[in-house]
Amino acid sequence: MKKLALPDDILMQIDKPARYIGNEFNSVIKNPADVDIRFAMCFPDVYEVGMSHLGIAILYDMLNKRQDTYCERVYSPWPDLHNLMKERNIPLFALESQDPIKGFDFIGMTLQYEMCYTNILQILDLAGVALLNSERENDDPIVIVGGPCATNPEPIADFVDLVYVGEGETSYPTLLELYKEHKKKGFDRNSFLREASHIPGIYVPSLYEVSYKEDGTIAEFKPIYDDVPATVERQVVKDMDSSSYPTKMLIPFVRAIQDRVVLEIQRGCIRGCRFCQAGMIYRPNREKSVDVLKAQAKELLASTGHEEISLSSLSSSDYHALGELMDFLIDDCLSEGVNVSLPSLRIDAFSLDVMSKVQDVRKSSITFAPEAGSQRMRNVINKGLTVEDIIGGATLAFKGGWNKVKFYFMLGLPGETDEDMKAIPQLANEVAAAYYDTVPKEQRQGRCQITISTSFFVPKPFTPFQWAPMYEAGEYLRRAKVVNDEMKAQLNQKSLKYNWHHSDVTVLEGVFARGDRRLCPAILDAYNSGCFFDAWGEYFDFDKWLAAFEKNNISIDFYAYRQRDLDEIFPWDFIDCHVTKEFLKREWNNAMAGKVTPNCKMGCSGCGAKSIGSGVCHNAR
């Protein structure tokens, strides 16, 4: 029988013990003696969240295709187990072998959201690895992070050895070969890290120094040694068709958030919404060919036995052959008992037709994400969606039998006025009115249900809004109240429902998103005072964070609420995301002027991503 790291009495008292036993179908088992490199791939959140992540699935498959590497998985132990592991000194282990990860060569973690930073420390702490990179020894694992937040890794600079900036498919082979070389000749941590800094996309935070001006902004950010590059170029897969994609995916016992085949149809987005980090850093838009997708869909359904397939991309409606792909999925899958779950599609005649084939119209809802209520504000954020699009789409849907609509908006966007906020419920009211105009009384199944959700805008690095100020928590709530009050004044208010988020966590997210390495001691103190699983409302403790900030002289005002100067040096400026700072400035000015920029298929706006040499920039028009 497979050995387990946790004893029976612990497994029998914790929630969902199957999170910790491994043994999932399609998981990879190797003999550790047969490999040179043991890699612990970690998603620093709970199992069900981490197991749903496509990026890890791609890297797990890619690394395990190598004969010399055994890549295993690690997720954050839930607090119930965390406490027991601490109490009994049980070191954190990898799921496949159940071996402690302290003995591994690499601990890799993905940074999908800022609120996972304390969970990184939890992983290292439970593993028994020094939290600070300066305190690690030669035989400690190399701690490497990647993912979207790696585009500003500075707030965690003291905790990690390497940062992989960009898409993992490209530079891992070079990095692993270099590691093997160093291991063969007698491993010296410093000389390995130094040489790793020469690999494209690899950033070694300990090899850079930062000096600051009196006002707290950066004076200079530079490598300590001449051979260490001053800029790190974000890595991008050039050809999506030939890029490594798993033919098998793991089947968790505990139901994951994504309990389905996830098929990535393209990377990047042509739209250029000015608040959206993914829309900028994943440029250029690169599509997979439809034949590759058909083959991958078939293979993945067969190897997993999933009864649902879903498409993954930032904007599926923009995929060039969506009609052909959907026809294929519907014809080939539905008959086999496989559901097709739809990605968020632009609501039009095509998408409604597809939806009516795969969903029960009366039970499902249609979704719009206008992000802003007024046309003025939508121009500011460059969201090319008009009132006519929304009312027209909703009217078509109502004719087709739908009566539920979901709306997603953001509050606290740059330059937002009370009028812009009020436009949110007004738009929802118009949609409700369209329902009552469209559907005759005798055909209605009660009222239509329009749900409005708002989140609070957080400015992110490498977006045109990276210079924008945030608001204090109280101001966000005031804005939510403006929306709520206006909603109650609407004629169709009984058909409207409004949800909004908490605002403390938004402020903290804002601090981390544009933070620098002076935040490291505060994050460490917060963890030591008991903060982790900050992304989970029930564990988020803002007071502990405020105490950690105060102790370390961290001003929220400086990181979040301040309007930044156009020529300020940002902590992430050393990263080259291909999208140039000049373009972002131009877009910031366009935003302030309410000027819309065309999408990449309409015309090139010269963002800089064309230099990569593939994708939408080079497609024949």
């Binding site: 029988m1 029998m12 036995g305 999933h306 009864e307 008992g337 969903q359």
Partner: protein, 238 residues
């Protein structure tokens, strides 16, 4: 046509709960390419049902699920293709076609047999020298075994004696091993923990901890006490 699949759930799979196991089998049947029948409607689901659920922490050599197939697959092929899609701790041991009038496994179960012992070889129960004599007094010679059973609605008095069809005990390497056959199913479902707890109380042992027991369900039965038939004996291989 309906097929009864018999399987084992052992080792580390004891930590996987019933709902998770059901989801595992839905996907395994799909991977095995068995021509399973789906229900009608917008959310079609496989026609698949399980006999009595097994609690987390228990192992079993006699678990059953019934599935409905659109076409016949030979028992050998069905068993092999399912086994290729199992993980460590799950093994398919039977694949039999049911007669048309066979009751579904879920409602058919009337009894289950268990092998129960102690996880800790130094458990208090291992130090009672005359435990076999005491068992005879507790069970074989008793006219009734009255206990208080906690239910959702409160507590109720219950006589265990007529619901225990077999209660054998032997001591192996100083550790008591129980062989039980208990009433099971939708009415009078008796868990082995309940029986051992009553026995512990009779023995005068301190606080009973059900997690101290290592419980294996051996098999499940249908029919009446005088003529129990294993769920796995019903039907034929094709």
């Amino acid at each position: 046509m309906r097929v009864r699949v018999k399987f084992e759930k052992t080792g580390i799979m004891r930590y996987v709960g019933h709902l998770d196991l059901m989801r595992f089998f839905q996907k395994a049947v799909k991977r095995a390419n068995l021509p399973i029948r789906y229900s009608e409607g917008f959310n079609p689901h496989q026609i698949m049902s399980f006999a009595a659920p097994l609690g987390v922490g228990l192992t079993s050599t006699g678990e059953y699920m019934d599935i409905d197939l659109k076409q016949e697959v030979s028992s050998k092929e069905g068993l092999e293709s399912l086994n290729q899609n199992m993980v460590e701790g799950l093994a398919i041991t039977g694949f039999k076609y049911l007669p048309d009038d066979a009751e579904k496994c879920m409602s058919a179960v009337t009894a289950a047999s268990y092998m129960v012992t102690y996880k800790n070889p130094k458990d208090d129960a291992c130090y009672i020298d005359n435990i076999i004599d005491l068992k005879e007094k507790f069970f074989d010679e008793a006219a009734s075994i009255n206990i208080v059973k906690k239910t959702k609605k409160g507590e109720r008095e219950l006589d265990l004696k007529p619901l225990i069809y077999r209660f054998n005990l032997e001591v192996k390497d100083n550790v008591p091993v129980y062989d039980l056959l208990l009433s099971s199913g939708s009415t009078d479902n008796i868990k082995p923990e309940l029986v051992i707890k009553a026995f512990h109380e009779y023995l005068g042992l301190p606080e009973f901890d059900e997690l101290s027991l290592d419980i294996q369900r051996v098999d499940m039965y249908t029919g009446e006490p005088e003529s129990f038939v294993s769920l796995g004996e019903i039907g034929d291989e094709h």
